[in-house]
């Protein structure tokens, strides 16, 4: 899969290119807005990582021009501007996700992969399944191995998000953003405790755990091998 990285800071660009290449992606790099626009319109990318402040044409203008030209490549905006306003502006301009600098590479990778999956998979499904864990989106019920599991509404949404991203790492920030719509980091480890509670419900009385902690990155729900 080909990823376009638009970043004018050479060090960050190298860091991103190296990390993404190691994760198995082909990476093209643009260092200013015009070049980014040219590359994005001439080649087919699976996703792009876009810095907001660029020479010659800023990131949001690039994005606006692309979206106006019906180019729907998923875009992850990378920016040092981190207020809620900036985020809203970025998403309104056509960005699909927003990550504030400085960032951990694991966070960026997890978000980028979530974007890639979102572009690929059908979203109109009514049932999610990972191994013997089933989630019915219509009746909002959870079953594992045919046994019904009682979950709270918020736990259901947490589980739904994990299952939609099954097999991939989701970070704490991603969970806070998508399940709680919180765009800040609480000082307490609220997400860890939420996850361990959910784990109690879906994993405790079963042989194979599905919900795993990925150290230094986040969590991953996956079927046993």
């Amino acid at each position: 899969m080909k990823i376009l990285v638009v970043e004018d800071d050479r060090e960050t660009a190298t860091y991103l290119t190296k990390g993404l290449s190691e994760s198995g992606y082909t990476v093209d790099c643009a260092s200013d807005g015009r070049e980014a626009l040219f590359l994005a319109t001439s080649a087919d990318y699976s996703a792009m990582v876009l810095d907001r402040m660029l020479p010659s044409m800023d990131g949001l203008s690039v994005l606006g021009a692309l979206r106006a030209a019906e180019i729907r490549t998923p875009a992850l905006i990378l920016s040092a501007l981190g207020s809620v306003d900036d985020r809203v502006k970025g998403l309104r301009a056509g960005g699909d996700d927003y990550l504030v600098k400085p960032f951990a590479f694991s966070e960026l990778l997890a978000r980028l992969e979530a974007l890639l999956r979102r572009g690929a998979g059908p979203t109109t499904t009514t049932r999610l399944q990972v191994a013997d864990l089933e989630l019915d989106l219509l009746t909002r019920s959870v079953r594992r191995g045919g046994k019904a599991i009682e979950v709270l509404p918020r736990e259901f949404r947490l589980l739904e998000y994990l299952m939609r991203n099954a097999g991939h790492v989701v970070t704490r920030t991603m969970l806070l953003e998508h399940v709680w719509d919180y765009h800040f980091d609480p000082q307490t480890n609220v997400i860890d405790v939420q996850i361990s509670r959910l784990r109690q419900k879906i994993d405790k009385s079963f042989d194979h755990p599905l919900l795993h902690t990925v150290r230094g990155a986040g969590y991953c729900l996956r079927a046993p091998e």
């Binding site: 207020s83 918020r154 709680w180 800040f184 980091d185 609480p186 000082q187 307490t188 609220v190 509670r197």
Partner: protein, 483 residues
């Protein structure tokens, strides 16, 4: 002496140039032009009114004279028709006898111009003997003095060459007219004088108020940010302008203060952790990858610690920026109506498991439908900060989150049963980087409550700390939206 003289000589044209420049400056001002226009319009209207009064009153006197003469002539003509020439002469003689004080002039002459009766001796010189209306000068001797009086008269030609002249000495009317003219001239001059003074005072008044604004802005630009345009309390346009300018200056001052505070804070509280970070990295660089004091920290552990330190720094930095942004009032998009109860419940839902794990009982008592205008994200963050604090400092027991309406206010309270905050510290603890624990062993940057206060203020609300007996009660108060 020569030097003195030359200095003096060079000063004079300088002063003249100064005056000229000042004059040009004044003429160039809007106030002067306004005053001049005001004066011109005022003068034109005053002169118009006075001229009208003068013409009307003069005309009135003239018409009165003519009406009198007409009536007299008509009366005498009737007498002549009834009683003939001799009768007319008798009546004229009777009317001419003595000084009746009404300044009437009568004269009847025969065809040769010889007077037959009347109160003047002869036909006045230079007066034609045929036209109807006459103006002439009358020579008279009154009390031994020879005077020439203007007179107005009317001629009645009697068949047979006889003529009757009825006239009136109009020197009184002329005197009246000149009296009116003088009065009006005086009135006009006074009015114009007042107009000139009024215009000048008005323009100077206007100039002075503009000048006040100018002087204030100059002082502000020179760095005195707390200077304000004086108000008169008249709530006229100038007061409104001044009030608006003052509000603008308040805003600028607030922004500058916030900016300065952030710079101070960065200098004060970020420098220490930054140098600590630097030391750590330096030590990691020098240390061999094996064990090394203190506490046998390996190189990778030192780097991990450095990354943690950097993360804490970033968090502090972000919090500082958020507070500064909130306090500077640069955002105006929180007009959405939100349900405070829902926001509180959502936060409690997130924190409930962690509270339980730490040995707290977190309960929510949120009355439904307490709505306010605000930013959901910011309020969530405020509640989250307060819950973080309670979990960090209260040690255990009950944490209660309450949302309820009271006197048109939306109130959110978070109470715990911990040690609370001594009354003396309850205000200062809201300031930046204030932490009551001197050892600072608990993680945190001392910005949590500052951020809460900044968020409350951003919503035109307030935050108060109270005694929960035992524990702390934090109360956020906002204007409530009617449901």
């Amino acid at each position: 002496m020569v030097i003195e003289g030359s200095r003096f000589a060079s000063k004079a044209p300088l002063a003249a140039a100064q005056i000229l420049r000042n004059a040009r400056l004044i003429v160039g001002t809007h106030a002067f032009r306004l005053a001049a226009l005001y004066f011109l319009v005022f003068a034109a209207s005053v002169l118009g009114v006075l001229l009208f009064v003068y013409l009307t009153s003069a005309d009135f006197v003239e018409r009165q004279t003519e009406a009198t003469l007409d009536a007299e002539i008509t009366g005498l003509a009737e007498q002549y028709a009834q009683r003939g020439l001799s009768g007319l002469i008798q009546i004229v003689a009777a009317r001419s006898a003595g000084d009746r004080g009404d300044a009437m002039i009568y004269l009847v002459t025969d065809p040769d111009g010889r007077p037959l009766a009347g109160n003047i001796a002869a036909w006045p010189a230079g007066v034609p003997t045929h036209s109807t209306w006459l103006s002439f000068a009358l020579e008279r001797t009154i009390n031994g003095r020879h005077e020439v009086h203007p007179a107005r008269g009317r001629l009645f030609v009697i068949p047979g060459g006889y003529r009757l002249l009825v006239g009136r000495d109009i020197s009184d009317a002329a005197a009246f007219r000149s009296e009116v003219r003088t009065t009006l001239l005086w009135a006009g001059s006074i009015a114009l004088g007042i107009g000139l003074i009024g215009g000048t005072v008005m323009s100077r008044n206007l100039l002075r108020r503009v000048e006040q604004v100018n002087r204030t802005s100059e002082r502000v630009m020179a760095g005195n940010l707390s200077d304000r345009v004086p108000l008169r309390g008249t709530s006229d346009e100038f007061d409104q302008l001044a009030a608006n300018l003052n509000r603008m200056l308040d805003q600028i001052e607030r922004l500058m203060t916030a900016m300065r505070e952030v710079t101070d804070d960065v200098a004060h509280d970020l420098r220490t952790p930054l140098s600590r970070l630097r030391t750590r990295l330096e030590r990691a660089l020098v240390a061999p990858s094996g064990a090394d004091p203190p506490a046998g920290a390996s190189q990778s552990e030192a780097i991990r610690a450095a990354i943690d330190e950097a993360d804490r720094l970033l968090a502090t930095f972000n919090a500082l920026l958020s507070i500064a942004e909130l306090e500077s009032g640069a955002r105006h998009d929180q007009t959405a109506s939100i349900d405070l109860s829902e926001v509180a419940r959502s936060a409690a839902e997130l924190y409930e498991p962690v509270a339980e794990e730490k040995g707290f009982a977190l309960t929510v008592a949120a009355e439904p439908g307490v709505r306010m205008r605000g930013d959901r994200h910011l309020l969530s963050q405020a509640i989250s900060n307060l819950l973080d604090n309670a979990l960090k400092y209260a040690g255990g027991g009950q944490i209660e989150l309450r949302v309820f309406p009271k006197n048109g206010q939306a109130i959110l309270e978070i109470t715990d049963q911990g040690p609370g905050i001594p009354e003396a510290d309850r205000h200062s603890v809201l300031d930046r980087f204030v932490r009551l624990e001197p050892s600072r062993t608990t993680p945190g940057n001392g910005l949590g409550l500052s951020l809460v206060r900044a968020i409350a203020r951003r919503h035109d609300g307030s935050v108060t700390l109270e005694d929960n007996r035992p524990g702390l009660r934090v109360r956020l108060q906002f204007a409530r939206l009617p449901t």
